[in-house]
Symmetry: D2
Subunit: 436 residues, 4 copies
């Protein structure tokens, strides 16, 4: 009994791929991938035994890669690329990779850049389109940001599909996070409703690394690469004063991956506070008391706090959402700073430094590891879209590139499992207790 | 039918671990790992069907992690750490991680640093030992190299075991490559022969990333992280002259992973020559003719060559081995430079720049990604050794930490599969033909 | 008629320097410097003509360097080092340089580190002293911050002198800014009043570069070196949104050197607002109107604002001073952000990103240029103090190392001359009008 | 009696500058500079007394800056830029600065890029010209190398002037070293001979920092900025082996500035060998014996050698010159490596690592300090050329921007004075004896 993630297709792929690849192993030439090339999702051998007992197949993931037959005639294909949401390292690398793959691998001649996110698909905004060529994108991987510009929030789906039709777009590559991908899926649904043959491909972009199912999203490694020396600096500030405390706020609205990874990468951190952790401030084992012990013992402390942490502590009087629909949090960093200040006022003098590097991380250029990852994702997205797949994302699972339905990865946010090896290593590295 | 990599044990682990972990899921506390926690090795779903048909179990890998019971009484345990072979980013991070884990997690009080590799286990060299404490190692992760010093080559196994016995060492952590690990296994065999209870744990260190079975070795990401801007520089040099050619030689004696990954990370490279590729220089589709076409078209070219590439082209008159037993190669970079110079002498003027960044890469500090990886490896090695496992390495397979017998990973070197997605993406990125 | 800055001396220097230097030119060995080696201060040839006419000597500066005779017997000398005020790149380099010079050049054996700034000279704080040796400081130049810790604000002068006497300190090296130097001068005055022979040497430390008379203070180049890529990032954020505006607040309480230099170094900045510039927000040529023109024309803008800029615009209801006596400013960055937001509310939508990298800059390690500079300053401070000079600072003027009385450099803060070549080049580079 | 460097002029500057500057001080607007704004060259106060006695004027330097009247009508001016010789950090910054200044300050509309150095002025090479606009150069400062390409060596002067005439070039900006500047002066002489009105302006480019009279050349700071961490790496390699020796060869054909500055910036270096130092290898106080003492004492050593050092030691059988006319040196690095190897063969085992980072330094992008410097030089070159000055260079002397005749700076190479404060600080920092 098959148990697979099914990727939607626009129709039968009948056009021979221009890629000169092989269909057999052993000739030193890469072999076309088929939809039947499936990978096991759960690595636990236990699961196998269960499946064996139940006579079922373990869950399969469709391997990404170039297909032997395409849905689109490359010479006549128009592709468009849109980048949405906040900045994240690697967006330009993905844009570059998509353009290079379309142009050089397949010979697609018309590639449009959609300016300023989904706004650019709404003609009322008056942004126009931008032609993308290899010459125009060849150096962009060395820069952070997005050459296309971005915006938060949605536009009316019908309007966006109208624009795609008017501009004769065959494939829309969307680079964005949870909200953007849901938007892309809605566009795909509307396309389907209208019986059109436009592929919608997603490349998940989330600096928070909170897209479900996939190992990690692009830009995430760079983000803690950039954050890591900032923690070293914060440590310099903390030790530079008697009872010095540095608080560094890092990204992570719903998931604390950046805070935790940066703390692992630069082991000068004493406390990592993340949204997944329901810590308390007061009481004998509360955060403030434990912090006091730390100071009494070591005379300094470094605290890393994810922006979405401790929301249970902040009075939720004014819940707001930003233009992307994300819940806007009160600033936990400043909140903590105030609480710590107040707590020690009656104990002993402390010096608190508050560091909020947000945009410095977001707007950095991709590091070499992410550069490799981004071009891989871009190439795979192009291969899938040219084969007529739609409403899909490309992602890495168990270190392998796969295609997944957009709907599969947007059902919930990925979060840090407090019982995972990962969080355990953070606790080991910081010396922070299991509960606060 | 079980089909697992079996890790050797010194005996039954009876001592209760001091780690305050859980034995059940759901309490937000990390759960002790057991030897029965096995992971699937081959991810292909096809393999599952085959196993199902054959009634066999797919190959299993033993999950790394803290065990509930230890073989060694932490308070009475002496550990020693030795680092061998060439420098590689992250060695100090691993040393730091091992010391921190032994000291803080388990309470091991006596940790010895063995100076200058296996030489340090030979009393005739007169190097002595060095006491390692958290205070002594707390900042070393910010520096490249190894604070212990290293050496190439082996020492007499009996002598080294004598030293371990004399110094009452219970666990020997060896950080080194293929030769070092084989040496560690030989030490383990001799210990077994003598009926001693000394654990030998390996943390594979190879900048070439050529240890078999594991996803990647520590320091590898940093190595192409460091190499990547050097390729950008090489591109500056190539475009800075009319018909400018830059040749960058990177590490990779038997496997071209660094050359290929660096080229992917900095997509300015036109040719990647690796040991796995039996390219020819002459002839219509030979490298020189293709290089000429490139120059005629673009007026510059960047070539990345792994140090072990093209050995089939160099007259093998003087095959030598270095002190570690590695075959010493003639310098392919200079060889290529000469061949290119000679070839174009009769065609048109070219300007060739030869860049050999070897030690600049080897002696760099670990980047943040490798820092996280290194402490993870160190922690896992400590967990395994404290539980009495021996003659094992810790490594990452399919993105998960596992234990493997040393003998399993030293049977052959890992090489780039020319039919792999990885090599295909290099060809896609460079535009280099499948065959040269 | 001499017209020189006169450096105070503790008394006649009679002890032969252990440095094996020369007293004549031409032997390829560095020649001892004498107090008569004076350098011209004002480079304008016009000034020369004036002096010629008036029969006066142009103002002279005493050249720094090793003197042939010392006031202190090195073997019996105790030196102490104190670091005060906010962090600044290079403090550890200066500490290292002072220790190395005292130990290796002169053979001074007792060098004390005073912890946490002037607090460390107040026994009531209970911080104790720390012995500094070459071994203890050899690697510290690779780290930002100060290994001694720092504090803001003064301690009672008599108490501090009592401590120096009790600890038999002969030379006190103070590393700090305007307030610290004034404090050092007060200590020197008290020492003089008591008829003691303790030298007080200052190495000016101000990330703002606002110490008068000298070319630049250490750490200043590093500070805009670190700030410069942050401006590039800010530009990425600005261009990443339609009508995107990035505001970067940089250090500079009274002087805008960092803001101006960083903007010159990374020419993506459109406005530099500094304390020296009395800009207005409103009106036809006010900042907001000019910003609007910029957006209408280019769709993005990058603003760099020094923390002390625009204070004339902020209602001065609550003037406060921090512990160092510096006037605490309301946050001009947030003030500007609010004003811009309000202004465009009725015009068109803008996206504003506010970036405050303060501590990230302050706590960075010195760059190579500053490393060279810091060891030079440290060596020169040691040479001067050993010769018995006191209440002096070492600084670079017209690219040459000189000694100056502390009182000469603390009379006023150095500011950007709005008619200088420097500010003119900022205006040229940004395209910002002369007046706003 | 005036004693000034005289800058050649094409004729009277009669055209009103479009720059809206002031002619008086005190209005907060930069004041036009006049040729009478002269700066003292020699800072020693002693020189003043001598001049006073002799009734002469000290040597004056012409202050660089915008003149009130121009020789060229900006709207009708054509400028060309040529970059010659080896790569050096900052070339693109200078190109960018010249283009921006010509376009935005003066309104010059036609700016030509000459490809591949002086070759580009020889039509026989067929390279053509390239139009330079602000849009084309706006991001190039973030890249090393030169977007124009370069070449070594001269072309026939008459041919080059013919090209300038044919292309109606009014101003030629030459960016290059000693040979290039001499070539530029020859072009200027030929222009004069023909009675043409073409200005030739030089911006000295030499990574070796060996241009006479000026404080430093652009790119020099970046070069030791890049070299400095490589020395740290070399130190890691040296300490990573028992009796490990690292030899790092740095640029410096005739002058050892980079080697010396890098060693100052990263104080892990034990020996700095430069062309200015006539060291001997053998004998009791020879380099090899001193190296042996170092190893016996410390077990490792780091040696930095400038490429032009020790040429007196290498048998000069085959003196060659490269295309630029520079004497080609045999490789002192490999020579030293061989000598050291041979020397210790009979003493004790050593491990030698040889590191040659040449192109990695040359092709780096300018650091922020050099970026500021490069745009300053570019702006000043434009101001001088627009005013009709010719056969001049712009440079920084005593920290101030001045104009100098090309002939004044090409009479001899700047070298390290072995009796200078600079070399003394190198000896102090390394502990190397005055003579070897």
């Amino acid at each position: 009994m098959a148990n697979r993630f099914t990727i939607a297709h626009l129709g039968t792929a009948k056009i021979k791929s221009p890629l000169q690849l092989s269909t057999v192993r052993g000739d030193n030439i890469f072999t076309f991938v088929t939809d039947e090339d499936q990978l096991v999702h759960d690595l636990s051998l236990e699961r196998y035994t269960e499946c064996l007992a139940a006579g079922t197949e373990p869950q399969g993931l469709e391997k990404a890669g170039p297909r032997q037959h395409l849905f689109f005639e490359p010479q006549e294909t128009t592709a468009a690329i849109v980048t949405c949401g906040g900045l994240c390292p690697g967006i330009n690398n993905v844009i570059r990779g998509v353009v290079m793959a379309l142009h050089y691998f397949y010979g697609v001649k018309r590639i449009l850049g959609v300016p300023y996110g989904y706004e650019g698909l709404n003609p009322a905004m008056g942004h126009g389109f931008r032609e993308l060529t290899p010459e125009a994108v060849k150096d962009i991987h060395q820069f952070g940001g997005t050459i296309l510009g971005s915006s938060r929030g949605a536009q009316e789906v019908g309007t966006m599909v109208d624009t795609l039709v008017r501009e004769k777009v065959d494939i829309l590559f969307t680079i964005g996070g949870d909200g953007t991908l849901k938007g892309a899926d809605a566009i795909g649904a509307e396309i389907e409703r209208r019986g059109l043959s436009i592929s919608v491909a997603g490349i998940p972009k989330t600096i928070d690394n909170d897209i479900d199912l996939i190992d990690k999203s692009f830009g995430f490694e760079t983000s803690f690469d950039i954050a890591s020396p900032i923690l070293r600096d914060a440590h310099n500030e903390a030790t530079g004063a008697f009872n010095g405390i540095s608080i560094v706020k890092l990204m992570g609205r719903d998931s604390g991956f950046i805070a935790a990874s940066a703390a692992l990468a630069m082991p000068v951190v004493n406390f990592v506070l993340i949204p997944e952790l329901q810590f308390k401030l007061d009481g004998e084992q509360g955060f403030l008391a434990v912090l006091q012990q730390r100071l009494e013992h070591k005379k300094h402390a470094v605290i890393v706090v994810a922006e979405g942490a401790g929301q249970h502590l902040i009075a939720q009087e004014d819940v707001r959402t930003d233009a992307s629909g994300n819940v806007q949090h009160s600033d936990i960093g400043l909140f903590l700073k105030d609480k710590i200040k107040a707590y020690f006022k009656e104990k002993f003098p402390v010096t608190i430094k508050y560091i909020d590097p947000s945009y410095i991380v977001r707007s950095a250029a991709a590091n070499p590891g992410d550069s490799v990852f981004c071009s891989g994702l871009a190439y795979m997205a192009v291969h899938g879209a040219m084969a007529g797949k739609t409403r899909f994302v490309v992602g890495r699972v168990n270190n392998k590139m796969v295609y997944l339905p957009i709907s599969a990865v947007t059902q919930k946010r990925k979060k840090i499992d407090l019982e995972s090896e990962f969080w355990f290593s953070v606790l080991q590295s910081t010396g922070q207790p299991f509960t606060l």
